[in-house]
Amino acid sequence: MSILKLNNVSLTYFSKNGETKALDNISLDIKEKEFVSIVGPSGCGKTTILSLISGLLKPTDGNIEINNNSSENMIGYMFQKDELFEWRTILDNIYLGLEIQKKLNNDSKEYVEGLLKKYGLWDFRNSHPSQISGGMRQRAALIRTLALQPKILLLDEAFSALDYQTRLNVCDDVYKILKEEGITSILVTHDISEAISMSDRIIVLTKRPATIKTIHNINLSHIDTPLKRRESNESKELFNTIWEELQ
């Protein structure tokens, strides 16, 4: 079942220096619980797509349909940096979105408590961000987003600020969490292997203004973790194909 649809979406930025066409006629159909990655040359318009989906930007042309059967807020957004506020404890950071949407009540607090315990941050709930490791911070940022119980999660290079070792582990962590919570995810990344190891589908974009160049369906579900998928032969072949496409 389709949860999100982009129909012939185009976007042009207007600024003092002129206009920049970032997206040109992008159409996408994303199914529920699907994991989709977007790769493309630097500055081609990947972040722009996420901004459109999240509603931070409105398309210049075309439209976006979100299959919204509940009136709940649907979309969570994770950025490259964890953007945790240093003056708040981990717990208060996680409450941030709930506070803003005035949903901080016993139910939501209990839900957060469950997430913290499940994903190993409960003992650190009263620490400040600088007192925990980079991997834990990213997990905290994820829980902050999950606290709002989004149906769709947008990840914009969410792991690229981490060192390689941590990054592989966090990818595994996050992947597991997202599957468990049944969340549809859209990941923007520069790391082709990362895209291959996590996704059901990879969308390759052209240079700016971005159009869709190719779409790869991936079938690695017989391998259970992203880390192991990176090692597989299928993924190595696909890596080369996508690498060529990005040149």
């Binding site: 950025f79 240093e86 003056w87 979105g97 803003i100």
Partner: protein, 270 residues
């Protein structure tokens, strides 16, 4: 962290050394102060310096005792203290509020920018006579003087701090659907805590500059008034005594701000 004794020997040595350094510094500081006062008194007693011009520690204490016994001391202290605190609160409060308004309204900010810059570089003391004509002599004009000295720099500094907030953090809040007011209260203001404390520290010094300057221009009471009066009648004991009291008051106010800083930093983990 709990205090425990299972630190390594090297660590204990390190702590000991640090403590020793701290104590040494404190002792030297006290020695300098005592030495200075002692030398001053000694030179005055032996007649090596002219106490008519330099006064002396014992004379200063005597003078303070004299004014205290007439009951006037408290009047002067409370006058200046009242003016300083009032000006400090008004300038910090209004300045911060202005900064918030200018952060909120970009157009207004662009419009006022050149005026703020010019006002900031203007020596406020030049406005003294004008202020007296406009608001009259006394407390009002003194407080006004001090407020003018502080308010522009407060506004400029805080506005800068508000604008320095990372855009990505604002985006995060907006992705939660935060409105502008929520961005302000949840992010912009707490994010600028360090800068606000910096402003407090600067203002706690400037407010004394402002009130004493104001009192030089026009006043019937206050420590600035005592200093001017003392110099006019060439009573250096009085001038020095007032200056010493001023030092104490300024120090106390500074320490209150420093204490506040400590609490805030602890709360905000910065």
């Amino acid at each position: 962290m709990k205090k425990s004794n299972n630190h390594s020997k090297e660590y204990n040595n390190y702590i000991k050394k640090e403590k020793f350094k701290k104590i040494t510094i404190l002792v030297i500081q006290i020695l300098i102060l005592v030495g200075f006062i002692g030398a001053w008194e000694l030179l005055a007693m032996t007649g090596a310096i002219d106490t008519f011009i330099t006064s002396s520690p014992s004379k200063i204490i005597e003078t303070i005792g004299n004014i205290a016994s007439t009951g006037e001391l408290w009047l002067h202290i409370s006058t200046t203290l009242y003016e300083s605190i009032l000006a400090f609160v008004i300038a910090t409060g209004l300045g911060t509020m202005l900064a918030i308004i200018l952060w909120w309204n970009k157009t207004l900010q662009k419009i006022t920018e050149p005026f703020l810059v010019v006002l900031n570089s203007l020596p406020k003391i030049a406005l003294g006579p004008m202020i007296i004509i406009w608001v009259g002599i006394g407390t009002k004009s003194i407080v006004m003087m001090a407020v003018l000295i502080m308010i522009i720099i407060t506004t400029i500094t805080m506005l800068n701090a508000y604008q320095n907030c990372e855009n990505s953090k604002i985006l995060l809040l907006r992705s939660y659907g935060a409105n502008k007011f929520q961005v302000l209260t949840k992010l912009i203001i707490p994010n600028a805590t360090c800068d606000f404390i910096g402003v407090l520290k600067v203002n706690v010094g400037l407010t004394w500059v402002g009130t004493i300057m104001g009192e030089y221009l026009n006043s019937r009471a206050g420590l600035g008034y005592l200093i001017v009066y003392g110099s006019q009648v060439f009573n250096l004991n009085l001038v020095m005594a007032s200056t010493v009291i001023l030092c104490f008051l300024a120090a106390i106010m500074y320490f209150i701000v420093a204490w506040f800083e400590k609490i805030m930093k602890k709360k905000y983990n910065q």
